[in-house]
Structure formats: structure tokens, C-alpha cells
């Protein structure tokens, strides 16, 4: 970024086209039109189209959607299943035990099943029709700060057409400086720009760190004759096998339209065993009789992976700074107790929009004015429904049955539980070192069986995610010190990156015995950010590759 870049001024810039920012942009445009304010709104998205990088379960509580569009069904909102009839199971290796009593927060009667990718694509079309400038395929790579670092001026988009060695190709197209009176960051889980904001402005709490889970998900087409398609149950949630009680997380299976189902496993990234492989856990989960019976004869249509920001209420960052607001997963808005975050994300975007309108009317975008957003969040149902869940994820991180003591106590004390706030550790700090005499042969005990249709290896999964990056570009995964990988990390953890990455981006090759070399396949990257979160040495930094690269999700 040495040369002069074109400056491109907007009134309001939204970064990331998830449900939070799309709802926010639509709400803002509508409010501005009502008030006769003529404003230029821009929205950038690193995916090649809106929805390409959206992945979720997903059960949607339509509360925020109804506020945005009371007639959302008439408007053609892509709902997969309107009837959420729940079952909740505890699984052991071969058996299932239905949980007879499910707490109120696990009930989904008022909800519907959606594909988040389809849903955001639909919102994107509406936003575009309304006159919002949507720029898919443009990655924000740098936050533009004021000289004193006290406020945010906008975001710089990445250059395009740079080769592997950092040189300009014939197609070089410089990025632009998108400046705005206010910038709204809705990058999703573990954003690469919000990290820059935190470095300068310290918006995240050190005491209550951001914590995450990684989900691997598939959409499977079942045979038309599959009994599940006509059965009474449409929504299944499970816990226990294959994660056991010491690793938080669980599985889900939802019925969709067109003989499809959504199947996924969520793994808490505070797991301790460096040999654990979330993707393998997902395969094991699919082989459990409860799941295997349902998906029998099916075919995987699309696969993907994504992280979720799960820490909840106490891990929310400062929500506003001079010139910027933070929404959705960028601001840890998910409700881990209800396993839902789309409704809170949308609502946070809408509250941000209302704050922006006030700021536009006052023509004041200082933190003093934008701080109204923090209060709006606190006064809304986002805060009230999440406040009761404030210690929930923290309780789930407790080992064995201790978690149930916490959860039970929280249930009867409106979330206060046995300790409030209940502490939590950063995910990168939880791995247990392997013993010095660790026997490497233990790594390859059982080979999963793949059939290429229903049970897939990682690379087939990557293929079905549609992931593509231009090969000739600088590596977007920065491994700061590969010596650590080849020596210390190998000895202490046997390179967990080769396992926690769901897309086989990291490989440790040993061409001659004892001489290891880290090989990266950045083109496989699903943009899930697990590596940056879980690496025990904080040795990996995820940066945005050239805009338009990454998965091409359409139905997950």
C-alpha cells in the first residue's frame, strides 16, 4: 500500500454481508428514506456473492425478521421448514437416550429452519433493489484510523492481481480507501479487521476472552422414500458421543425442503486433547446409529465449516468507538443457550441503523453519540434473553458432570448460578501437552471409511464447498515462525493444525526422517478461522485473500 489509492467516500459503510449488516443496511435505508435523508450506503463482502460465505444450522427465531418485514413469508423469504418439532438426545457410542425434559430455551416452536446462505442472498437482493451499493468480491484488508487512533475513518479494500511473491501482475487493480462517516463491522466470527481495531483501541475484554466453537456442516439429499422426510420429528439436537462430556459441543439434524437435511457437529475449541480432530468427530457422528439410519442412502450436496463466537454476554466487546459500531458475531451477539445468533445479529444491525440515523441527524459520529448503540442493545431483548445465558457457555466448558451442576444452578437463579461471572480461558490455552514418550503410532489407529457420496474425506468436502482461490497470490495465512511448527509444536502437540483445520490447509511433511516441513494449501481455506483461534502458540494469523476467493456456499 505504498502508492496513492483512490478514495471513495460514502456516508455509511457496512463491512461483511451477514444477517446483521444486511438487516442493518435495509433498516437504515428505510429509515433514511422515511426521513428524506439522502445518503450513500455501501456494503462490501469478501465472498464472490452475497451468501457465499454464510453458513449456519440454522434455526431462525423470526423475531427480528418480523420487525424488519412483518410480511417476510409473502416477500418470498426462503424458509426450509416451518414446523420445528424437536427431539433432544444424549448419545453414547451405540445408544441414544431422549432427554425427557428440555428447558424452555431449547424449545423452537415459533422458529423455522433456514439455509443462512439462501437467506442472506435473499436479503442481499432486497438491499440491492432498495438502492444500497452492494460490492461482493471486495475484501476489506485494513482499517483506516484517524491520526490519533481515536476514531475510525473507513476501510481499505485489498489490491487485486498480486502474485505469489507480492509483485503486480498484468491484471493488477489497486484497492480503494472506502471512507465513511460511520463504519459498521459485521465480519462474523473472529474478524480480521476487528482484530486491527482491538490492537489500536482495545475493545475486547482481557479478563473474559472471546471463545469459539467450530462447526462442520453438510446438506444431504435423502432418497425420496426416506421415512425421515415424512416423519413427525423435524429437528434433532444431540450431545454426548462422539465428544463425550469433557468437550463442549453437540450435533444437529434439521429437515429442509426438496428431500434435503442439514447435518452438523459443533465442537468447542476449548478442547484439551491435541489429537482431537473436529472433522473426524463429525464423521464419527454420522456413523452413530441414530444419524446413520436417517442419512442412509443419501448424498452430500454441499459441505462447509465455520466458527461461532460463543462466549456470550460477558464477552461482548465495547460496541461503539468514534466512527464505528460492531454488530453480530463481531460483537459476540450469539445466544449459546438457545444455539441461535441470527436473530440477535439482525437485531443488533437494526439497532446500529437506528443509532446511525440519530448520528446523521446530529451530524456527529463521535463515540459520545454512537455510544447510544450500547444502550439500545442493553435496553433490547438481545440483552434480556442473553443475560440469563451469561454464564452458560462458561458452564459447558466445565468437565464431566460438573457442568450440569452449574447449568442446573443457573436454571433456577436466572443465570447467576454458582459463580457470576463464571470465568473462562482462551481457546488457544487449553491444549494439554503430549507426554515426552508419546508413541506416534497412536495417531493412526483407525482409518475412517469414505465412500465418496455420503462419507467424505476432507478434500472431497472442500470440493463440495465450491472453494476456490486464485493460486497465484500471496499466502493469506501468516505462520509467524515455522521453526516452532517443526520442532516445539511437533514435540508438544504433534501439530494440531493438521487436525483442527477442516480443509487440510496445513500438512506436515517428513521427506527424510526427522526433517519436517510445514506445507500450506491456502487455496483450500474455508475462511473458518479455527487455526487463528486454536493454535497454541498464537503462531497463525488469518488475513483476507483476494476478494472473491473462498467457499461458494449456496444451500448451507
Amino acid at each position: 500500500m505504498t502508492e496513492e489509492r483512490e478514495e471513495f467516500p460514502l456516508d455509511v459503510l457496512f463491512v461483511g454481508a451477514g444477517p446483521a449488516n444486511l438487516a442493518g443496511a435495509i433498516h437504515l435505508k428505510r429509515l433514511a428514506d422515511e426521513k428524506g435523508l439522502e445518503i450513500e450506503i455501501g456494503l462490501i463482502e469478501k465472498g464472490d456473492q452475497i451468501g457465499s460465505h454464510s453458513l449456519s444450522g440454522a434455526i431462525l427465531d423470526p423475531i427480528a425478521l418480523k420487525e424488519l418485514f412483518p410480511d417476510y413469508l409473502e416477500r418470498g423469504c426462503p424458509v426450509e421448514e416451518t414446523q420445528c418439532r424437536d427431539r433432544f438426545y444424549y448419545l453414547t457410542q451405540n445408544r441414544k437416550f431422549e432427554v425427557p425434559f428440555t428447558p424452555k430455551y431449547m424449545h423452537n416452536e415459533e422458529c423455522c429452519v433456514i439455509s443462512l446462505s439462501r437467506f442472506t442472498r435473499w436479503l442481499g437482493e432486497i438491499a440491492e433493489e432498495m438502492g444500497i451499493n452492494i460490492f461482493p468480491g471486495f475484501a476489506g484488508t485494513q482499517v483506516l484510523f484517524s491520526e490519533d487512533n481515536q476514531s475510525i475513518l473507513g476501510v481499505a479494500t485489498g489490491d487485486k492481481g498480486i502474485d505469489k511473491n507480492g509483485n503486480k501482475k498484468a491484471t493488477f487493480e489497486p484497492g480503494v480507501n472506502l471512507t465513511a462517516r460511520v463504519t459498521i463491522f459485521g465480519e462474523g466470527s473472529r474478524g480480521s479487521l476487528i482484530r486491527q481495531v482491538d490492537e489500536k483501541m482495545e475493545i475486547f475484554s482481557k479478563a473474559m476472552p472471546q471463545v469459539f466453537e467450530t462447526a462442520v456442516k453438510e446438506v444431504i439429499e435423502l432418497p425420496e422414500t426416506s421415512p425421515f422426510l415424512t416423519g413427525d420429528t423435524t429437528v434433532l439436537h444431540t450431545f454426548g458421543y462422539p465428544l463425550g462430556l469433557d468437550t463442549k459441543g453437540g450435533g444437529f439434524l434439521y429437515r429442509m425442503k426438496d428431500n434435503r437435511i442439514s447435518l452438523g457437529l459443533v465442537v468447542g475449541l476449548d478442547y484439551e486433547d491435541p489429537l482431537l480432530e473436529p472433522y473426524r468427530m463429525f464423521l464419527k457422528y454420522k456413523r452413530h446409529p441414530l444419524i446413520a439410519d436417517i442419512i442412509q442412502g443419501g448424498k452430500v450436496l454441499q459441505q462447509g465449516a465455520k466458527t461461532l463466537s460463543i462466549g456470550g454476554y460477558y464477552t461482548m466487546p465495547v460496541l461503539s468507538v468514534g466512527g464505528a459500531l460492531f454488530v453480530g458475531d463481531s460483537a459476540a451477539m450469539l445466544n449459546s443457550q438457545r444455539l441461535k445468533g441470527i436473530h440477535t445479529a439482525m437485531k443488533s444491525g437494526m439497532l446500529a441503523a437506528e443509532t446511525v440515523i440519530e448520528a446523521l441527524e446530529k451530524d456527529d459520529f463521535s463515540q459520545a453519540t454512537l455510544r447510544a448503540y450500547d444502550q439500545k442493545v442493553m435496553d433490547s431483548w438481545i440483552a434480556s434473553e442473553r443475560y440469563e445465558a451469561r454464564n452458560f457457555s462458561q458452564a459447558l466448558s466445565r468437565k464431566g458432570v460438573v457442568k450440569f451442576m452449574h447449568i442446573g444452578a443457573q436454571y433456577f437463579t436466572k443465570g447467576r448460578g454458582l459463580k457470576d461471572p463464571l470465568d473462562i480461558v482462551e481457546d488457544c490455552a487449553t491444549l494439554k501437552k503430549l507426554p515426552k514418550d508419546f508413541d506416534a503410532s497412536a495417531l493412526e489407529t483407525e482409518k475412517p471409511e469414505y465412500d465418496g457420496t455420503l462419507y467424505l474425506d476432507k478434500l472431497t468436502g472442500v470440493y463440495l464447498s465450491g472453494t476456490q482461490h486464485l493460486e497465484d497470490q500471496p499466502c493469506h495465512l501468516i505462520v509467524h515462525n515455522t521453526d516452532i511448527c517443526e520442532t516445539l509444536c511437533y514435540e508438544e502437540y504433534r501439530n494440531p493444525c493438521t487436525r483442527f483445520c477442516p480443509a487440510q490447509v496445513y500438512e506436515m511433511v517428513e521427506e527424510t526422517p526427522g526433517e519436517r516441513r510445514l506445507v500450506l494449501n491456502p487455496s483450500n481455506c474455508l475462511h473458518c478461522k479455527t487455526c487463528e483461534i486454536k493454535d497454541p502458540y498464537k503462531n497463525i494469523t488469518w488475513t483476507c485473500p483476494e476478494g472473491g476467493g473462498g467457499p461458494k456456499y449456496s444451500i448451507v
Binding site: 457465499s52 471486495f138 487493480e173 476456490q468
Partner: protein, 262 residues
């Protein structure tokens, strides 16, 4: 130089392609639509010629309402104006009918040069652009990887089996772009904003004087009987080892005994 580029919107080949219930079309619901990659070469070459010689680049495309996105992409790359033929009666037209409609539209657009992709990656017919040239009665040069214009003459390098043919013709000419002609530029963010304000005409078959009874699915001369997915690719076997000689003999053995092609 007045240049017209024929552009088609096609499904992204990385999209989830599934055959629809009727067995002769694909499910369109979850597809991503993009500019036919060979047409990107055509647009890029048109822009380069205009940059060297001056003139205008007009994008001509036929398709439903969403086709406008692809035309806008070409405008964002730098083309000057667009013409969009949008008529439900034209939907499902076969290559011949499509070429007739495009040729009719070209009666109203001045041109010295027409450029198109050599094929569309969806239908894969290779027919529309050559048929347009026939209807217009102008020379055509297909599968071009290099062109030079001097005065009123164009000289094109055409890919032929085993080599390259160099072909010359007097303008006006239609040529089709093969991979290797150039590397298309990106649509820049300011380019996308500018594209929103560029002129884009929408035309119906009636505007072009084309009889709807000759177009659309009902009037196809080429009928699709069935669509089948390509056979699943077999797993790749990597021949292990450090010794190339041993690996080569292992390869020959496998080709002989397993693949039975030697």
C-alpha cells in the same frame, strides 16, 4: 472503431449443478450466474482495441431480467453501453434462433468488429457466434488467441489441431475468443459505481422485428432428450517411491494390467 461484444450469462461451473425433475434441464434455484468465461476474454480484447484505437464497446446479451447483472459486469470492466434482449418468448431458444435474434439486434447497432466467446460453458454448442456472422453476411474467424488490426484489415491467430493458422480478413469481421487471447481485468469498485450510470437499452423481440413464433423452447429445432451427469471420476492412484525408473515401470505395469490400455 465500433465494437460489439456478444455476452452470455451462464451458471458458475463451481455451482451446485443438479438435473431438474423434467430430466432435460438443470435446477436453477441455487445457481450462481456469471459471465461466460470465454466472453470475458472477448470483453477484455474489445477494451484493449478501444484503448489503442478509440471508439465504443457495446455489450449485447439475451436472457431474463438477471442477465442485466452480467451486462453491468462488462460495463464495470469498462465497456460503454449495453443492449439487453429480454423477452419471455425468447427463453429456451436454440442456437439458431438465438443467433437470428442477435443478428436482428445488430441491424440497429453500428459495428466494425464483433467479438464473442468461442463457446458458452453451459450449452457448449460453439454455434451462436458463427451463425450470427452468417446471418449478417460478414467474415468470421473462430478460436482466436491473438489479433492485430491495421487499417481496415484484421489478422488473427486461430488455434487449429497441431498448430496455429494465421487468417486475415477485411472489417467488418466477427471473431471468437479462445483461452490464451488475454487475461481479463477485474471490475474495479469505482468501475462498478460508474457502470450503474452507463446506458443500457432493453429490447423485446417485437422491438427487433423478430417473430416470436420462431423463438423460445416451443420452436426449438434442436431438442434435448435427456441430461445425464458425467460418470464419477475414479480415485487417483499415486505411484509411491523415490526411484523414477521403478516408478515408470510400475506405471507401465498398471496401465497394462489394471487400466488395460497398453
Amino acid at each position: 472503431m465500433e465494437i460489439v461484444v456478444l455476452v452470455k450469462q451462464v451458471p458458475d461451473t463451481e455451482s451446485l449443478i443438479q438435473i431438474a425433475g423434467d430430466g432435460v434441464s438443470i435446477k436453477t434455484e441455487d445457481l450462481k450466474w456469471v459471465m461466460n468465461p470465454y466472453d470475458e476474454f472477448a470483453v477484455e480484447e474489445a477494451l484493449r482495441i478501444r484503448e489503442a484505437q478509440g471508439g465504443t464497446v457495446t455489450i449485447l446479451s439475451m436472457g431474463p431480467a438477471k442477465t442485466v447483472e452480467t451486462i453491468r459486469t462488462a460495463l464495470a470492466m469498462g465497456a460503454d453501453k449495453g443492449v439487453h434482449i429480454n423477452d419471455p418468448a425468447a427463453e429456451g431458444s436454440d442456437p439458431l434462433a438465438t443467433a437470428k435474434i442477435l443478428a436482428a439486434a445488430l441491424k440497429d447497432i453500428p459495428f466494425d468488429l464483433i467479438i464473442a466467446g468461442m463457446r458458452a460453458v453451459d450449452g457448449d454448442n460453439y454455434q451462436v457466434a458463427p451463425a450470427v456472422a452468417e446471418f449478417l453476411g460478414i467474415p468470421q474467424i473462430t478460436q482466436v488467441i491473438k489479433e492485430e488490426i491495421s487499417g481496415d484489415t484484421i489478422r488473427c491467430h486461430q488455434v487449429v489441431e497441431g498448430g496455429t493458422a494465421v487468417i486475415e480478413a477485411k472489417l467488418p469481421v466477427l471473431f471468437t475468443a479462445q483461452r490464451g487471447l488475454n487475461e481479463p481485468r477485474y471490475a474495479s469498485l469505482p468501475g462498478i459505481m460508474k457502470a450503474k450510470k452507463k446506458p443500457l437499452d432493453v429490447k423485446t423481440l417485437a422491438d427487433l422485428g423478430v417473430d416470436a413464433g420462431t423463438a423460445g423452447t416451443a420452436n426449438r429445432k434442436v431438442k434435448i432428450k435427456a441430461l445425464n451427469p458425467p460418470p464419477a471420476r475414479k480415485a487417483i492412484t499415486m505411484i509411491q517411491g523415490d526411484d523414477p525408473v521403478a516408478q515408470a515401470s510400475e506405471l507401465v505395469k498398471k496401465l497394462h494390467e489394471e487400466a488395460k490400455i497398453l
